[in-house]
Amino acid sequence: MANILVLGVKVPFTRGGQEVLVQGLMRAIKERGHEVDAVELPYTALPKEQLLNQAAFWRSLDLSTFGGISVDLVIATKFPSYYARHAKKSLWLVHQHRPAYDLYGGRYSDLGDDPRDEAMRRMIVEGDNKVMAECAYIAGISGNVVERLMRYNNLKAEVLYPPLPLGNRYHCGSQENYILSVGRICSIKRVDLMIKALPIVHSTLKLKIVGAPDEPGIMDYLKNEIDKHHLWDRVEFCGRVSDAELLDLYANALAVYYAPHNEDYGYVTLEAFASSKPVVAATDSGGVLEFVKHEENGLISEPTTDAIGHTFNRLVENKDLAKSLGATGRKFIEDVGLASQHWDTIVQKLLSPIRG
């Protein structure tokens, strides 16, 4: 039996895939006979200079002993948790600070060509390289994350897909006339594209958005778009919902919209599949496309409002297509065992530094 700390990063008042992953991992480790707890520091990237302090806070922590109990292993997940020091460290990487990496140069990065920003970017990369190299075992949550690690940090890592958050509880209901969107409401998730597409989608189809905003100004922007196109009778912000409500929302959707820009992994894709629902993704959705295959278990569209709108019209006009795509998605989940069986492998690998 080992004493293990899972290191997470918490943005107060929000909940996303990372929190789900930490909770799931802790449960799985405990079920396998170990003592486990989470260390989560609050995180903010504003102002951007805080990034250095956030990493340095983690670096300053002594995680070796608490109340006489030695910590045998720490498992880091996301920037900047992997800056923590410990003799035995594993990394199950959700993502680095992407604005310093693959998002740099685009609209989702606030780092520019001010030499101070460039200095900060380099410090983050140098720091990441140093502290990630301390890890005795490194994995990423998807092929996209692993490829990014190699491309930018020259580090080899294994892919360990996180299992579904709600295990075997997903089910399929009916096909009601709504599209479901689940996730943090921020610009990179591109919920705005779906809202802007609605005017050209059959008027019977509604959009239900589960999740909370975690970006300043995003709700004002989305509400403006809804106002502009007079869509308040077709768009519903559900906020955060209970697990039971979420399962029902998945179960009865016509389809799930999940078209973020270059996503790391995307639980939503797999939750949709587990509920036998097709996913509409975009050509640049990154990790989502490791699972969504066009015309097999979903539809992949150009990331434009027109293309997305026409894609959804296909599903409205042909519900049998939506059903058959969803069925293929469900089969994928069953075949790969992402409902619950996968935790054995994950725990075994992440604990390998203390197994010798």
């Binding site: 340095a56 140069g105 520019g112 060509d113 001010d114 380099r122 140093k130 502290v131």
Partner: protein, 415 residues
């Protein structure tokens, strides 16, 4: 051997001039220089990691290929991060580019660089890169090399004046280097060919309407071959139908390699351009290397090509008629010896020649570049120190509790 970080698109399937110049020059330059390629394409190292390679094994110079295309954006960005030698294939850009350039505080950055007492750029300020676009890039360039003589002229007359007004130290010299083309392009042998070759988009600044008008009234029989990008096909076909030239042969691939392959059977090539943006590209020198006559728009860049080497048509009212007359004349002449065109091309554009000239520029500027790189490195350290102070000042007691972590991570630096 000098070490060079070379930033370029490698999009050889397109008409990217940067990709062409890189493909031509780098293999030759590698005989004298240790070159590492950086970019976003396969076959390059990721451009954002160039600073790490520079730390591991310092480069003597950073060389950028810049043109008015989106696949040059990363070069334009990185030029602002580590200034260097720039091949300007375009002197003006039609758009600001991606976010780091849009919002670039470059005027304040360079004020700070040249005048240490100046403040760092303001945070949370709406810096807006206003047109015409190119001044930022010109400022960040330590050794400007133009492959379009017109752009070089505008740089000398326009940019240098505005830079001095801002209080920037201006580069002493700018250079013109012709676009390199391979002397392996064979002399065109088909003297009986009646093929007219065009490699231009179907857009008004490329004088398409005038060309098609001229072709549609040619007396002599001819064959028209048009190299296009695939997405241009529909528009081209519309125009050909309008001018009743549907027998034209369209090749849906426009790049220097494909153009060179078509030269062997070309009688004449057309190079129209009437715009403040863009340049003629390598198609003119390639045609000359193959001994194929060229017809240019008599505007801007054409001034720098001798009248004895190219036919020049003035854009305007008489353009279509003049072009028709020249084409009929050329097609009606029968077999002619144009090998003098190849002699001119070998003297002016051959890859080995251009590479030699580049090496001379590199040598003559090495002291200036060296001095600049030392100063820029120091500036980078100052920036690093500034951002560390900014970060720690967000915390009580100037973040004293984090000093040890900053030092251990190597984030504290000593100027």
């Amino acid at each position: 051997m000098k070490r060079i970080a070379w930033f370029s698109s490698l999009a050889n399937s397109t008409d990217s001039i940067a990709a062409h110049v890189t493909a031509e020059l780098v293999p030759v330059l590698r005989q004298s220089l240790d070159i590492e390629l950086f970019g976003v394409d396969d076959g390059t190292k990721n451009y954002l990691m160039a600073f790490e390679r520079h730390k591991e094994s310092p480069f003597d110079a950073f060389v950028y290929q810049l043109e008015d295309r989106s696949d040059s954006f990363f070069s334009r960005i990185h030029l602002g991060l580590i200034p260097g030698i720039v091949f300007f294939h375009d002197g003006l850009f039609t758009e600001a580019g991606p976010e780091p350039i849009h919002q670039s505080p470059w005027p304040d950055v360079w004020q700070k660089f040249w005048h240490r007492e100046a403040n760092w750029p303001k945070r949370n300020f709406d810096y807006h890169y206003a047109p015409p676009y190119g001044e930022r890039e010109a400022t960040c360039t330590r050794v400007p090399i133009f492959t379009d003589a017109r752009s070089r002229g505008e740089f000398e007359r326009g940019y240098k004046v505005s830079a001095k007004r801002r209080g920037f130290e201006v580069q002493d010299k700018s250079y013109y280097l012709p676009l390199p083309v391979s002397d392996k392009i064979p002399l065109s042998v088909d003297k009986s060919s009646r093929r007219i070759l065009l490699a231009s988009p179907p857009r008004i600044e490329y004088r398409i309407h005038k060309i098609l008008e001229a072709l549609s009234s040619l007396v002599e029989p001819f064959e028209f071959v048009w190299l296009l990008a695939p997405e241009e096909e529909a528009r081209a076909r519309e125009l050909l139908q309008e001018f009743k030239l549907s027998s034209a042969r369209l090749i849906l691939e426009r790049n220097p390699k494909r153009f060179a392959a078509e030269l062997n059977t070309a009688r004449v090539t057309l190079h129209p351009l009437f715009s403040v943006f863009g340049q003629l590209g390598p198609y003119v020198p390639q045609s000359l290397m193959a001994g194929v006559p060229v017809i240019l728009s008599n505007f801007a860049q054409a001034d720098y090509i001798p009248d004895s080497i190219a036919f020049k048509i003035r854009p305007g009212e008489t353009e279509a008629r003049e072009l028709r007359l020249v084409l009929d004349e050329l097609l009606g002449r029968g077999a002619m010896d144009y090998s003098f065109l190849r002699e001119y091309a070998l003297e002016t554009y051959s890859t080995n020649q251009v590479a030699t000239e580049f090496l001379k520029i590199l040598d003559s500027e090495s002291e200036t570049l060296n001095a600049f790189m030392k100063r820029w490195s120091r500036f980078e350290l100052e920036a690093r120190s500034a951002v560390v102070s900014e970060a720690l000042n967000l915390l009580p007691d100037h973040g004293a509790v984090l000093n040890s972590a900053y030092r251990e991570l190597g984030w504290r630096c000593h100027l």
